[in-house]
């Protein structure tokens, strides 16, 4: 059997997850190319392919006109991976989903211009097509992606943790943001990243989305108990998890 053919596609996103692929360094990247064949990757190459073993789709589904392109990728690919937060959960793009006036706010009276045709909400790719696996995170963790690729190469379901980021902070003995007078969303955020943000001195913003059954009520209470104004506490988790909140 030849090497699996892999394609990368981008929708509404910053394309940072694709950029992360360039950050493996020489040895790891060249080794990766021994096991997969990158056949389509608009950002880095001009070639195109008919059939794909794995399609990695970056970016959110935000315009009805994108549905056809997504369906085309789905039709060509055996396995579809939503690649990064925007594709997997809507990511940062969904931060304005709860607003009803964002188009008018940004475009004024030109809001109905056909150029700006857009869904009201930024949605994960799976809102348009079936997604087999999700790579979480903003940006995605490039080593977790390697593990996922390894699993798929061996026909094994990739393991993605479903416990909160607190587990990983504690494992690396990071001081809790709350103990430093800050706030954090680590208690409701899905782990797997290794908790780099609190270790770097900033709160977790839950870029990998919520764990299954996040305790949103307790989150709001804890934030308020630690001095956050109520309105901010109520809206805090919108940054990366707006599509996953109970009020979404």
């Amino acid at each position: 059997m030849g090497k699996p053919k892999v394609g990368f596609f981008d929708f509404s996103s910053c394309e940072g997850c694709q950029i992360e692929l360039t950050n493996y360094g020489d040895a790891d990247f060249l080794e990766l190319l021994n096991h997969i064949e990158i056949v389509e990757f608009r950002e880095a190459m001009s070639e195109k392919a008919d059939h794909l073993d794995i399609a990695c789709i970056e970016g959110s589904f935000t315009r009805e006109s994108e549905r056809k392109r997504l369906e085309d990728i789905r039709a060509r690919a055996d396995v579809v991976i939503s690649f990064g937060a925007c594709a997997s959960t809507g990511g940062i793009n969904a931060l304005k989903n709860h607003q009803s006036d964002f188009k008018e706010y940004v475009y004024g009276k030109d809001a109905d211009s056909p150029h700006l045709q857009s869904n009201l909400k930024a949605l994960p790719v799976e809102a348009a097509i079936k997604v087999d696996y999700k790579v979480l995170g903003c940006p995605m963790d490039k080593y977790e992606f390697l593990n996922i690729v390894s699993s798929l190469l061996h026909g094994k379901t990739p393991y993605i943790p479903d416990y909160p980021v607190c587990v990983e902070c504690k494992r690396r003995e990071t001081i809790c943001r709350f103990d430093l007078g800050d706030h954090c969303l680590g208690m409701v955020a899905r782990a797997g990243c290794g908790a780099p943000c609190p270790a770097d001195g900033i709160p977790c913003e839950a870029c990998r989305g919520f764990v299954t059954n996040p305790n949103e009520d307790s989150l709001e209470k804890v934030l308020i108990d630690h001095g956050m104004p109520e309105e901010r506490a109520r809206t805090k988790s919108r940054m990366f998890t707006n599509t996953m909140r109970s009020d979404a």
Binding site: L32, S150, C166, E173, N215, S218
Partner: protein
């Protein structure tokens, strides 16, 4: 291997520096506003004044992620590769936790992935200089003592230096790195004092003995409402597990390397509070979670800590470090709070039950043993006919009755550490007691209790104790004597004076022989008058004061005939014992046992309800008291 050395304060940094130069030295260091165990690069980093570290030292033996096997195609090998380390400055509660994980990883089949690291380590304990806010090591599992360390270093209060207690050869080998000499007696006792005193600084957050915990917590297992309420704010984040020194659950995952041929099998710390922990896949995307609610997961952790492992570990699987409590963002993990809540439930239930109960209704008790102790005193061992256990404090009383004869108050004469049975001694002096004294094994009595207040155990713990018992006063104090003997390490110097009018009135003869032999108790006895065959002391009980040196911080318990009190207290005044530290066990005519009937009233106090044990300072100026 018990040897105790001393190193001067000014020599200590050089000692640490020398250890760093030759060994892999791990100790507590500051990390922003917290502490962690980490490798030391210079002596200044060592912070023996730490209160508690974020993670316990188990991370060196059972790391958060650990390779178990490396494979390459069909070839594979294990990854046991212990590194020699010296873990320095470990608090006693963390040593206890390592004792527990040592047991758990070696029980049945030994896990060498843990034990090899453990064997390669030298563990040096150190005294606690600062108590962390949520710690409760002062009151949980005190019956379990640390044992897995190789040495223990105590910084003396006066700053002169450190007393180093050597426990093993590994501990002894450190002597070569510093200027040590043998510690003097004074230094050794100063170190003992430092370690005793810090126990008192740890707030007594569990106002009940921990041996009652397991049973009561287990009794609430099906109280779904309780667990859901306790876990309402829970994030299922597993932080309480991850920072716990006695948690040791793990998960195992295989991982391929980039070459897609080689890889490793690794284990990771897991946490039973996370929702995934008890989830099993049933295939085709469906799954079953055996602990699907927050309340169930919360309960499981409390059961693991307070109930499930107790038989194996000899006490709760909790050392009172307070890490789970301080690191829980929702602040719901504090075990002390949970235990107290459960104990209060019991109390609430008791109150409710009491209201629906007639206070005069006794319960049947069966006589297991009966023994004529003296001509007039008969010693009974009883158990409740319904099989229920008895919970009382030493010094408390119960009402004992026989229908048709009546009811009399009697003190418990056995230790509450034995909950299945209890002892009483009945002196045949009245209608009821004479009838009771005719009973034998298999007969029943009818009892109500415990009643009143016994000896103030929370004030006696860690102290030097003197018990002065005159005549039948040995019966209620025997309860306390047995309690102290059962938990000898929790108390300081322990002395007993026992006086009777003549040798024939001596009771508990087997006990007396044991106590004379035991190194755990300084036992002095006297009789007022005796035949020539008596080779012990003759004279009133105050003559015993010449025989024993009495530290002025001793706590004294007096129980005996009223005439004895005045003379004994005069001697205690001479020894400079404050009256706050003297407790007297008063005897009055008690009828109801619940502070209603008025017979035992002294001024505004009822002996049966407020006593029978009182601090002497509370009753000395009370008319009619003594």
């Amino acid at each position: 291997m018990m040897k105790t050395c001393f190193i001067k304060d000014q020599d200590f940094p050089v000692f640490i520096k020398n250890v760093i130069a030759s060994e892999n030295l791990i100790g507590p260091i500051a990390k922003q506003n917290k502490f962690v165990f980490d490798k030391l690069d210079n002596p200044e980093e060592l912070r023996l004044d730490y209160d508690v570290t974020i993670l316990p030292p188990k991370k060196y033996f059972f790391p958060p992620s650990q390779k178990l096997i490396e494979f390459d195609g069909e070839k594979y090998h294990d990854c046991i590769d212990p590194k020699k380390i010296i873990l320095f400055g470990v608090h006693f509660y963390d040593i206890k936790s390592l004792d527990m994980t040592d047991y758990l990883f070696t029980e049945g089949k030994t896990d060498m992935n843990y034990m090899a690291n453990r064997d390669a380590a030298t563990i040096i304990g150190s005294n606690i200089q600062n108590v962390s806010e949520r710690a409760f090591w002062g009151c949980i599992g005190r019956e379990v003592k640390p044992k897995g360390h190789d040495g223990f270093i105590t910084r003396l209060k006066d700053g002169s230096g450190y007393v180093y207690e050597i426990i093993s050869h590994k501990g002894e080998s450190l002597l070569t790195y510093g200027i040590f000499r043998d510690a003097t007696e004074d230094e050794i006792s100063a170190a003992t004092r430092v370690n005793e005193e810090i126990m008192l600084e740890c707030e007594a957050r569990l106002p009940f003995p921990t041996d009652q915990l397991a049973e009561r917590v287990r009794a609430e297992f099906n109280n779904e409402e309780l667990w859901n309420e306790l876990a309402e704010g829970c994030f299922s984040c597993g932080t309480c597990n991850t920072v716990c020194p006695t948690c040791y659950c793990f998960d195992v995952h295989d991982q391929w390397n980039l070459d897609q041929k080689s890889g490793s099998r690794n284990r990771y710390w897991d946490a039973c509070l996370t929702s995934e922990f008890a989830k099993v896949s049933l295939g085709a995307g469906s799954s079953e979670n055996f602990r699907s609610t927050r309340g169930e997961r919360f309960r499981h952790r409390i059961m693991r800590k307070a109930v499930y492992l107790n038989d194996k570990l000899g006490g709760p699987a909790c050392v009172g470090c307070g890490r789970c409590s301080t690191s829980c963002t929702a602040d719901i993990a504090d075990p002390a709070r949970v235990y107290n809540k459960i104990m209060e439930l019991e109390k609430e239930a008791e109150v409710a039950a009491q209201r629906s109960q007639n206070i005069f209704m006794p319960k049947q008790a069966m006589i297991l043993r009966a023994h004529q102790a003296t001509a007039t005193e008969r010693h009974f061992t009883l158990k409740m006919a319904d099989g229920s256990s008895v919970h009382f404090e030493p010094g408390q009383i119960l009402e004992v009755s026989l229908f048709g004869y009546g009811e009399i108050p009697i003190g418990y004469a056995s230790s509450p550490t034995r909950t299945r049975t209890f002892d009483i001694v009945v002196r045949a002096v009245g209608r009821v007691s004479k009838a009771l004294n005719k009973l034998d094994v298999g007969d029943s009595m009818f009892v109500r209790g415990p009643l009143g207040h016994g000896f103030p155990m929370e004030k006696l713990r860690s102290q030097n104790i003197l018990i002065i018992a005159g005549g039948i006063g040995l019966c209620p104090t025997r309860s306390l004597i047995q309690y102290i003997m059962d938990r000898r390490d929790e108390f300081g110097k322990f002395t007993l004076f026992y006086g009777t009018r003549s040798p024939s009135e001596r009771m508990f003869l087997d006990d007396l022989i044991d106590w004379h032999k035991s190194p755990d108790i300084d036992f002095f006895e006297t009789v007022d008058t005796a035949e020539d065959s008596w080779d012990g002391n003759i004279g009133v009980i105050t003559t015993l004061f010449e025989k024993s040196k009495l530290p002025s911080d001793t706590r004294v318990i007096i129980c005996g005939p009223p005439v004895m009190y005045k003379f004994v207290i005069r001697e205690l005044d001479k020894a400079g014992i404050p009256h706050d530290n003297i407790y007297v066990d008063l005897e009055r005519r008690m009828k109801c046992g619940i502070g209603k009937c008025g017979h035992c009233q002294i001024n505004d106090k009822y002996v049966c309800k407020d006593g029978p044990v009182f601090p002497f300072s509370e009753v000395e100026d009370l008319e009619e008291a003594l």
